[in-house]
Symmetry: D3
């Protein structure tokens, strides 16, 4: 299962790279936007990635979940912080957020193994 | 194909179970909420599961579709009732609900076989 | 407050009428779709309007809430049935469905007065 | 009614301006992204604004509808082109897109008066 | 303008209170869920309310924005933290999140005045 | 990979065909709606399919992306037009539209090969 999510991350990167080549101006601006929005500031980068994870669950975007989960782990988010993020998503999304939080939990177990 | 959807239901249960362990207070409350909302009352449980199915299609949540479809069948929903539920979803969602209703129909054929 | 929701219904009708004139073929087909989907069948029209109400809350479409609430009342939905529909919406949408169910409840009080 | 939508556009501009001051790096990047995405190219700017209008209706974002409708008119979109855009939105969104297309039509009448 | 948002908060409370009476079991469970999800833990309550604010913007729920913004302020969120939350929402939602972040900013100015 | 997307299109057709049999009146009306909305008019069919593609990305409907991408190609949309459509979707959806535009690009490479 772990390999599955690692592959998924690679596929996301590959597709995003292809989009960068095809729509360079748009994607370069998005990249700058993303860096500006997710950099350490009054809120640290870890918190911001957890926010993006919570949004990703709420809107049921599975690639987004895997991407921002990986980024949150990379910025030092621990298991409790991630699980509480899933709790907030459930509060803000009910049943559909339960099933996507379940997928986020599975991805966490795979990516933190 | 049938096995596919049965497996999907098992995976949903497994992931939800893991989420229950990780966020027990949140999930216990959600479970109570879910039981209160879906119990027989002025509307019967079957009708409520069909409503949840219609919502699941409208918001394009595939795990939700499979879960609430199974629950609707379990509460005695017959094929005509399920198909008319898909019709309501198409009215309320246009083309995207057509493709997700098509998936719900496929799941129904697999789970009721 | 009642007048408010009655006016809202009139505005929806007026705008939909204008759209009918501007996109007649599309809207005539939609009208046929809507009639086919919401007619009495294996599920009765009341149940189908309650389903549409549940979907409307889940997707946070306030005009849709008022429109389908009125239609559900018109098909004989009673207060308990409507309130339980709101409960299903909360199960399927968490906090955002709480605030929109609150709006649906307010609209019900105004339109059934 | 016309004044209403003109005021709405001014309010959107005012709020976006305040956001620009508060989140300058993020908003400057978004502005560059927006300019790159909506500039004349293989598709002209008018077509791109009509696309953004269609998306705005589909996701039920009323400020977005008014903003991109105004931009489409500014790039020379005529009434038929706008009405057919609403038709596509109805195809891709069913009933909820009917009510938001009705709002877009009302806004068009006000802003093109 | 301040009064406007204060009134909006009162209306949300009033409608939610009415829903509590109408769907007591569902709403009591939701209330417990909400308390469990938003309590201080590995993440503090302020961070969780900012997450809920980010989600609210992403899904374009204006009542949710006002409600969770007020709660975030109540838990000590300062202006910079709130503005950076809007930045994350823009990253995760593009143009539609720009207009709703603009509304969140206006609400912040009114509610913190 | 190409075969993958061709199979996906076949599966969509198969499921939609089954839905047609199960909900004939609803689906016949939807079919008429779809034909009326997507026919050549003030905007040509190609442009309308690109609009539907843009909407499909914005709402994260993968089957819709593949279906309308195929239709756009069938109506003569070239690579630049499709890529600029993805750019508009990114403007209107931020990060989640980046990952779904990446999937649309991959589908384009497979279906135009």
């Amino acid at each position: 299962m772990s390999q599955n999510y690692q592959d998924r991350l690679k596929d996301i990167d590959k597709r995003t790279g292809a989009l960068f080549k095809a729509q360079t101006k748009v994607m370069r601006s998005f990249s700058q936007l993303s860096q500006a929005a997710s950099a350490d500031g009054a809120l640290d980068a870890k918190t911001k990635e957890l926010m993006s994870l919570a949004i990703s669950i709420s809107i049921r975007c599975e690639d987004c979940i895997v991407y921002h989960l990986k980024a949150a782990i990379g910025h030092g988010a621990n298991e409790d912080e991630i699980m509480e993020t899933l709790g907030v998503a459930v509060e803000m999304g009910g049943g559909p957020s339960v099933v996507y939080s379940g997928r986020a939990l599975e991805a966490y177990q795979a990516l933190s193994a």
